[in-house]
């Protein structure tokens, strides 16, 4: 194997596949990056137990020449050293040469490294994605779906199923749901090219989707998604992203959402967020409990008390108020998380008394919904 490659392209792709490499890998070879040089380009592969990423760097990309391949071949190099080396090399091109002893010579300008490699045949093959449900999503929509749900997954490993995002497809509508059982986020999207695919209980690790979102190139128009029994494959032009699915049954979330409400309000998202953020200043990251009270038809009062520290009172004017008076407590941080991903000016909140979960959604859209369970005093 011997090739010369544009360093910046190389660095970027190495960074992408590195997302799938964990230093605590169970198989030692998985701490490495597999590099394969073909006649028309090279692939980089990284893999851990959850995700596998394969990036393809085409030899020619439009008018640009990325790689000049002299001899095809393959090797696995320790990601830790390799990534740092390539990043720090002096010139804009790098030359890689593999000898018979699996030693890879890396040259750039005046600098030369010889890295011991491992046999690429020992690197596990990416699982074959057999036929599954296939559909296409716009890249920006996919990113939005991830952004608007992934924040709500549970970080606790005790209930693994809640660390994932539930995907379900029915009548050309993809519904994404995440909950850590204190709050729930739902986002719906119409999928035109769904090819009549329907599925449910597809639970993708939240972490996988977050990583995917980070490496997906905005210039890319669409992403093909293939869902099988135990994995999901995202396919972009020069990228394969494979994630395992979580085992188990996702809780039934539909019936958690109250169908009636007793108090409906509408408030400007920015003001509400700013008021809650200030109210949280005193809680020192502890419980984040915030109290909300309706003062009159136009005004809400937000308070927070931390006995050792003090008390804060905020007032927020609301655009609309309808129904019963209200007094409720909740985790303010969860509300802020949701407000951050709601892109509308105003939010509508529907309460069903102080003891029941309440709903928040953008005032002008109904494809997104956030549900919060209240905090109560005992």
């Amino acid at each position: 194997m011997k090739f010369t490659i544009q360093r910046d392209v190389f660095v970027q792709n190495i960074q992408h596949v590195s997302k799938a490499i964990s230093s605590r890998a169970t198989l030692p070879i998985l701490t490495g990056i597999k590099i394969v040089a073909f006649d028309d380009g090279i692939t980089l592969t990284g893999s851990d137990s959850d995700i596998s990423i394969e990036a393809f760097i085409p030899a020619e990309d439009g008018d640009n020449s990325n790689v000049d391949i002299e001899r095809p071949g393959a090797v696995v190099l320790q990601a830790k050293y390799f990534a740092d080396i390539i990043k720090k090399l002096p010139e804009s091109t790098v030359e890689l040469t593999l000898n018979d002893q699996m030693v890879t010579k890396i040259r750039s300008g005046s600098s030369e490294f010889n890295l011991n490699g491992q046999d690429p045949d020992d690197f596990p093959r990416l699982p074959e994605v057999e036929e599954g449900s296939q559909f296409t999503l716009k890249t920006d929509l996919l990113k939005a779906l991830i952004k608007q749900t992934a924040f709500a997954v549970s970080t606790a490993e005790t209930r693994p199923i809640l660390t994932g995002i539930h995907w379900g497809m029915e009548s050309e509508k993809l519904m994404c749901t995440a909950t850590d059982s204190h709050r729930l986020a739902m986002r719906e999207a119409g999928v035109e090219e769904s090819g009549d695919v329907e599925f449910t209980n597809v639970v993708i690790p939240g972490k996988s989707l977050t990583e995917l979102s980070k490496i997906l190139d905005d210039s890319e128009e669409t992403v093909d998604v293939t869902v099988t029994d135990n994995q999901v494959l995202f396919k972009a032009t020069n990228l394969l992203f494979l994630s395992r699915l979580l085992d188990g049954n996702y809780p039934a979330t539909k019936n958690m959402i109250p169908s009636q409400s007793k108090t409906n309000i509408q408030v400007p998202a920015k003001q509400l967020m700013a008021a809650i953020e200030r109210a949280l200043l005193l809680s020192d990251g502890k419980n984040n409990v915030v109290n909300l009270k309706s003062l009159n038809e136009n005004e809400l009062e937000i308070t927070s008390v931390t006995p050792e520290v003090g008390k804060v009172t905020e007032s927020v004017s609301c655009d609309a108020f309808e129904g019963e008076e209200l007094r409720i407590s909740f985790n303010g941080k969860n509300i802020i998380d949701a407000l951050r991903v709601i892109e509308s000016q105003d939010v509508a909140i529907q309460f069903t008394g102080a003891m029941s979960p309440f709903i928040m959604r953008p005032a002008d859209r109904d494809y997104m919904l956030h549900l919060f369970s209240p905090v109560r005093t005992y």
């Binding site: 006995p307 905090v375 109560r376």
Partner: protein, 616 residues
């Protein structure tokens, strides 16, 4: 059916003996109590064959009036209680008038006494029947010799354990007396071998050293405190010397050794997490209180008492002990040279007014077996010990009741106000060992720090702060957490639903063994709701009441452990320095939340000794 008949004296004594005299150690205990009550300053106990062959207790106390000698052996004859009222203000160890007749009924007993050193009497009983009544040499005090114990109750004899075990009980009993009465010189011999010998110098620490050894005594810290009702004082052993049994705790109430689980727990609680799980400190606590506050008459062996205001005492003890260790650096180290200075705790001097033992007669010198003697005690360190112990300024005469300097309230306030001065010495990182221990040095020597334990301690205090929310708020769960409970646990939960709900934990039965957590307190760490709920239930089960602080501590410890860097993790020097800096500012840096030590110290001296650069 036989006619109802009053039991004859010898039979009823035998029945009483069943309660009072369980084993040789109970005989020893009763006889020594009598000797203590008689105001003796020297008591010698000699036993043969674990006490089964013979037990003799010799004292130099007040003796028994010769005309009352027979009366002492009739049941309920006592000189110690005159009226009903006295029963509620017992200051003596004996009060029932049962011991002598009970012992006499199951042995061959000889008692010689002289109340004034001028004339002496001797009485011999077999199985409770008087055999003879003669004169004896006029030697101040009393000697009781019990032979052939249980010779006439073969059943009882059958249940006795090995000589070794029986001797263990006797020795334990005498140890407790010695700790309860450091002003009395005790000597215990078994088959001519000396097992314990105390000086009667009133120095409790000296007694503790005789019993537990030099190393343990050196680690002990004196404490004292008082409230309106209680005065407590004593010594608390270093956590480093903790033992695997509660029996190293000694509580002395007005001169009486008693067992008390509530107080044992208070002591343990006072050590916070300095103790490894299942370990107990060596600790001796003297409590002085008005006799009205304690009822001794609850157990035939007089080993248990019922206390009024027990909670108050528990609190006082816990806070006092906490105060002791909150100020200390508890770093296990190799044995240090004697010359090391002991920290001065208070400005009082040890040799001040030494009060005499509350004895009627003083210093009657009928025996010569007492300290000082050149002969070394069993661990052969008497001389060295005397040296060290004398050099400890906090050594105090125990029977002396001084106005205690620190009230518990003040001591706990002090702890909080104390400026954040680190108790960890300044350290310089040298390197890392096996990816697990940080090696460091300073002028005092060489230190090893368990990086995982240090990290755990940091995390623990962080999480505990996070969890310590006084608010009564609970979070409803959108997705309830299911847990399976065993039959007995389920029944327990059903019964205690309300109590748990009061603590913010709402459970519902879901069918079969499955229960669901619907709501939990906001302080429950996310992702650990189930474990924490289980902790809470365990807590309720074990203690009948819910002390949430304890549950919080357990939860914080679990989180700390999960979040801590594992051993075998290579750290850069900079990381190690950062870790040590952070760890140094912990409130209780010396142990991990499970009580294991974080740091071990090797003094320069010790290292030089190992390399034979110094000889000692």
């Amino acid at each position: 059916m036989n006619p109802i008949k009053k039991l004859d004296a010898s039979l009823s004594n035998k029945i009483a003996a069943g309660e009072v005299v369980e084993r040789p150690a109970s005989v020893v205990k009763e006889l020594v109590e009598n000797a203590v009550d008689a105001g003796s300053t020297k008591i010698r106990i000699a036993v043969a064959e674990g006490g089964l062959q013979s037990i003799s207790v010799l004292d130099n106390g007040a003796g028994i009036r010769l005309d009352e000698l027979e009366a002492a052996f009739s049941r309920h004859a006592t000189s110690k209680i005159q009226s009903d009222r006295d029963l509620f203000r017992i200051r003596t160890l004996g009060f029932r008038g049962e011991a002598l007749p009970s012992i006499a009924s199951v042995s061959r007993l000889t008692l010689m006494t002289s109340p004034d050193g001028a004339e002496g009497g001797k009485i011999v009983l077999h199985g409770g029947e008087i055999q003879s009544r003669t004169q004896s040499p006029p030697k101040q005090g009393t000697e009781v010799i019990v032979e052939d114990l249980f010779y006439n109750t073969p059943a009882r004899l059958k249940y006795l354990k090995t000589i070794h075990t029986e001797l263990g009980h006797i020795s334990d009993s005498i140890n407790r007396f010695a700790m309860a009465h450091p002003e009395i010189a005790f000597e215990l011999t078994h088959d001519e071998r000396t097992l314990l010998k105390t000086s009667g110098s009133s120095k409790l620490l000296q007694v503790l050293q005789q019993i537990y050894g030099l190393q343990a005594a050196r680690g002990m810290r004196r404490f004292e405190a008082e409230t309106d009702d209680f005065t407590i004082e004593g010594y608390a052993g270093s956590p480093v010397d903790a033992r695997a049994s509660r029996s190293y705790l000694t509580f002395v109430f007005n001169g009486r050794y008693v067992r008390s689980i509530p107080l044992a727990k208070a002591v343990q609680a006072g050590y916070d997490q300095l103790l490894p799980i299942g370990k107990y400190p060596i600790c001796c606590v003297h409590v002085t209180l008005h006799p009205l506050l304690m009822d001794v008459n609850v157990h035939p062996s007089k080993l248990e008492i019922r206390l009024s205001k027990e909670k108050e005492l528990q609190h006082l003890l816990e806070e006092t002990i906490r105060g002791v260790w909150n100020k200390e650096a508890v770093i296990p180290s190799m044995q240090e040279p004697f010359s090391r200075e002991e920290p001065t705790v208070s400005g009082d001097n040890a040799s001040s007014s030494r009060e005499k033992a509350p004895s009627g007669k003083s210093e009657a010198t009928s025996f010569d077996f007492f300290y000082p003697s050149e002969e070394t005690s069993r661990n052969g360190t008497t001389e060295a010990v005397r040296e060290t112990i004398r050099s400890q300024p906090e050594t105090q005469d125990i029977p002396e009741r001084r106005a205690a300097a620190a009230s518990p309230d003040r001591s706990s306030a002090e702890v909080q106000e104390e400026p954040a001065v680190s108790r960890v010495p300044e350290l310089h990182v040298i390197g890392q060992f096996h990816g697990t221990y940080i090696l460091a040095q300073n002028d005092d020597g060489f230190f090893m720090i368990d990086q995982h334990a240090a990290q755990e301690r940091i995390n623990f205090e962080y999480f505990l702060d996070k969890l310590s929310s006084p608010s009564r708020e609970m979070q409803d769960l959108l997705v309830p957490i299911t847990m399976e409970l065993s039959g007995s646990d389920a029944a327990f939960i059903d019964e205690n639903k309300e109590v748990l709900a009061e603590a913010g934990l709402v459970l519902e039965h879901f069918g079969g063994p499955v229960y669901r957590i619907r709501s939990c307190p906001v302080w429950f760490p996310e992702g650990m709701e189930k474990e924490t709920a289980e902790e809470l239930m365990m807590e309720l089960k074990q203690h009948q009441d819910l002390r949430l602080e304890r549950v919080r501590e357990d939860a914080a410890a679990m989180m700390a452990c999960k979040a801590a860097v594992k051993a075998n993790h290579h750290l850069q020097n900079r990381d190690m320095e950062g870790l040590i800096r952070e760890w140094s500012s912990c409130r209780q840096p010396f142990t991990c939340p499970h009580g294991r030590p974080v740091m071990i110290h090797y003094s320069v001296y010790e290292i030089e000794k190992m390399f034979k650069r110094v000889m000692n």
